[in-house]
Amino acid sequence: MKILSIASRSVFRNWRRTLVTILAMGFSGFIMTLFAALMAGMLQTSERNAVAMNLGDIQIHAEGYRDDPDLYNRIDNAVGLVNKLQQAGFYATQRIYGFGLAAAGSASAGVQMRGVNLKNEVTVTQVHKHVMQGQWLADSDPMGVVIGRKLARTLGVRPGNEVIIIGQATDGSMANDLYTVRGILKSIGEEVDRAGFFMVERSFRELMVLPEGAHEIAVMRPDRSSDLESAAAQVAALAQTYETLSWRQLQPFIARILDLADAQTIIMILITYVAVAMVILNAMLMSVFERIREFGIMKAIGVTPWQLMTLIYAETMIQVVIASSISLASGWSAAHYFQKNGIDLSAIASSTSFGGVAIDPIWNAHVTTEALALPIVFLFIIAAAAVIYPAIKAAVIHPVKAIHYH
């Protein structure tokens, strides 16, 4: 196309000026992409931290259990239900709870014992990765327990110390046994920190005389980006008479906080876009207006206004295309890098506040198609919009005026 070749020649003739403009646009796009990816990553990390640490996406309980946790109010045939869920494609694990007293030396504290099914639990939550001291539970060590951070402090124990548990078993007899602290968890949440006492499932059942049944089934979607509500409905259909709730219903406050953060993120991105728009507007305006004399001469030698406008647009588009490629390439590689490695916030923050917190201070980006595509679309739109005014001006201005324009 004739126009295109003229346009490209003119673009490359003033390569310095063009370069500056392209770089400005490309850099803007790069920032937008990186920013969007980081924001998406932050939301994902927050949700993951809230949910994947302990809660799971969806939980099943016997009716009334949550309001009044009673050892006897159980889900019967928990194993069967877990199997059904797994066959339907979900990750699921059963948990049993009991309350008792833990004593070590002269210190004692009330605890919530949890019988953990090791095989299934690791498919659903990340707790096993957040042992601060010592190790996670193991079937080979039935008397080894993993306890919460604050509980360890109250009892004054470290891995290797013994703890005695006293409680009331299902048959009314006094349950008591001696356990060894195998690991201490990082900070997971208030309840677990203060009173969390994790045991191997088998040991719990023996201690509390509870051969079957479970108090809670935690479920995780295989694909975390699928719709939560429909997944919950699917699980509810399998769980039938038991109560099924999504994490949003279990922790409505966290859900709202994340939604709020989501909204804030969108606002921030919008603001970023506006800042970008300013930059590009400036660049485009400059690049046209300072060539107005040139355009005036072209008009003087017979170029029609329409052709002039098309030319300007063609030049703009070429620049935007190049800028977009730069932005896409650099944006994607940076976002990808931060997706894998993440920014280590603890380096910026004071180090002491991160000791023992299960929330990773590492901020990972999350590359989404929106993060990559939207900035480019935006670049095109803004650039096109920005050139309208100068292009029209260039098209209609009287050649003599143009030559004298300044």
Binding site: F27, V276, S353
Partner: protein, 412 residues
């Protein structure tokens, strides 16, 4: 300086370009102010609210109490310590309290929880969140009677009303089990389930008697200061003044490490976001300045030909970028001011989005977003704007100085 005037006029030769760049800087200022200011307000709010939940901004405790709390560790002669602390500048209040674990029983049920022994004369709704959240009855009148103030959830579970009795059982200083009776004088509701279901207020002297403490013993002294940012400094001054191996002075960052962690992470995220946007604006400034240099190639060539040194040209462009920064800041102030005033006095109300339960990890979150910009933040933002603009101007300035006179005359 002559250079200043020339630079100024240069900028205004291209009104539109200068204005647009100025607006983009102004916009960046508004962004920085908004996010830093609302962040600071939010953090300050969270810190202050959490301080009045019991431990204060700075806490004076018996040595080792923070790690392993137990009722045999206690502070002595707290009256005198309190007087000394109150005399220190920046201290708003110093409150003596006793905290511990106990079982609470009524005829229907028993629950475990915590008690806070307080002296009503030292406490007030401003310094004590539980008192501020009272919904029924009132705080017991003296520090040595048999009143108790319970949370709404505990009242529900134990079937308590104003006037009904509660028996609490705990372990005294000798490790022996002791029980006492108390009658409900008031009920509070914070909205945080753990607090409403697990905390009570008791008169401090009654607690001292029950626990067999001495007259001035306590387990903590909560210090409330005027400006939460000085918490660590205050901790250090108190530590120095009280030099006592039996005592430990801690700041809220230490007593509430989780809160500190959340705030730090959020703030870091905030800074990174602002940095990115700052880069963006800097790119725009660079673009503008570079373009303006490139188009004045001939002009600069002529100036150098008649004797102007490259260094002067360099300085000229630098001064231009400085002016640009100033223009940007002025525009920024104009844009931001009304928005800031709105946020300061009215604020954005998100309570619709959050609903009833305001607790997050046991800490109340205020759904109203307001702004508070500290002097230090203002200085930081201004410094940031200047630095970025200057930085952006360096390359164009250098280019300006490098133009060989003959070449430039050829350029068109």
């Amino acid at each position: 300086m002559k250079l200043g005037k020339i630079a100024w006029r240069n900028l205004w030769r291209r009104k539109r370009r200068t204005l647009i760049t100025g607006i983009s800087i102004g916009f960046g200022v508004m962004l920085a102010v908004t996010f830093t200011g609302t962040g600071d307000y939010g953090y300050t709010n969270m810190i202050n609210t959490s301080a009045i939940m019991g431990l204060g901004h700075v806490t004076i405790e018996p040595y080792g109490y923070n790690q392993t709390p137990s009722l045999d560790k206690r502070l002595q002669k707290t009256g005198q310590i309190r007087e000394r602390v109150l005399a220190m500048p920046g201290v708003n209040d110093a409150i003596v309290r006793i905290t511990g674990q106990a079982m609470f029983a009524s005829a229907s049920k028993t629950i475990g929880g915590m008690f806070m022994g307080i002296d009503p004369a030292q406490e007030s709704p401003e310094q004590n969140l539980l008192i501020r959240s009272m919904v029924q009855g009132e705080v017991f009148s003296g520090k040595d009677n048999r009143g108790v103030v319970v949370g709404s959830k505990m009242a529900e579970k134990l079937n308590l009303r104003i006037g009904k009795k509660l028996v609490y059982t705990t372990t005294d200083v000798y490790g022996e089990i002791v029980s006492e009776i108390a009658r409900v004088a008031g009920i509070f509701k914070t909205g945080v389930n753990e607090v409403d279901g697990g905390m009570v207020l008791l008169p401090i002297d009654s607690v001292r008697t029950t626990l067999h403490y001495d007259a001035q013993d306590a387990t903590l002294l909560a210090v409330i200061i005027n400006d939460q940012r000085y918490a660590e400094r205050m901790r250090d001054s108190i530590s120095l003044a009280e030099r006592d191996p039996q005592i430990e002075v801690l700041s809220w960052q230490q007593t509430q490490a989780d809160l500190a962690g959340i705030i730090t992470m959020d703030r870091s995220g905030n800074y990174i976001s602002q940095f990115l946007i700052g880069l963006l604006i800097a790119a725009g400034i660079l673009n503008t300045l570079l373009m303006s240099v490139l188009e004045r190639t001939r002009e600069f060539g002529v100036m150098m030909a008649v004797g102007m040194s490259p260094r002067t040209l360099f300085r000229l462009v630098v001064v231009e970028s400085l002016w640009l920064a100033i223009i940007g800041i002025v525009i920024g102030i104009i844009i931001t001011a009304p928005w800031y005033v709105y946020l300061y006095y009215v604020g954005l109300d998100f309570s619709g989005a959050i609903g009833e339960d305001y607790s997050a990890g046991g800490i109340l979150v205020d759904p109203l977003i307001r702004i508070r910009l500290y002097k230090e933040s203002i200085i930081a933002i201004l410094t940031g704007v200047f630095s970025l603009t200057l930085l952006a101007g360096l390359y164009p300035a250098w280019r300006a100085g490098r133009i060989p006179p003959v070449e430039s005359l050829k350029a068109m």
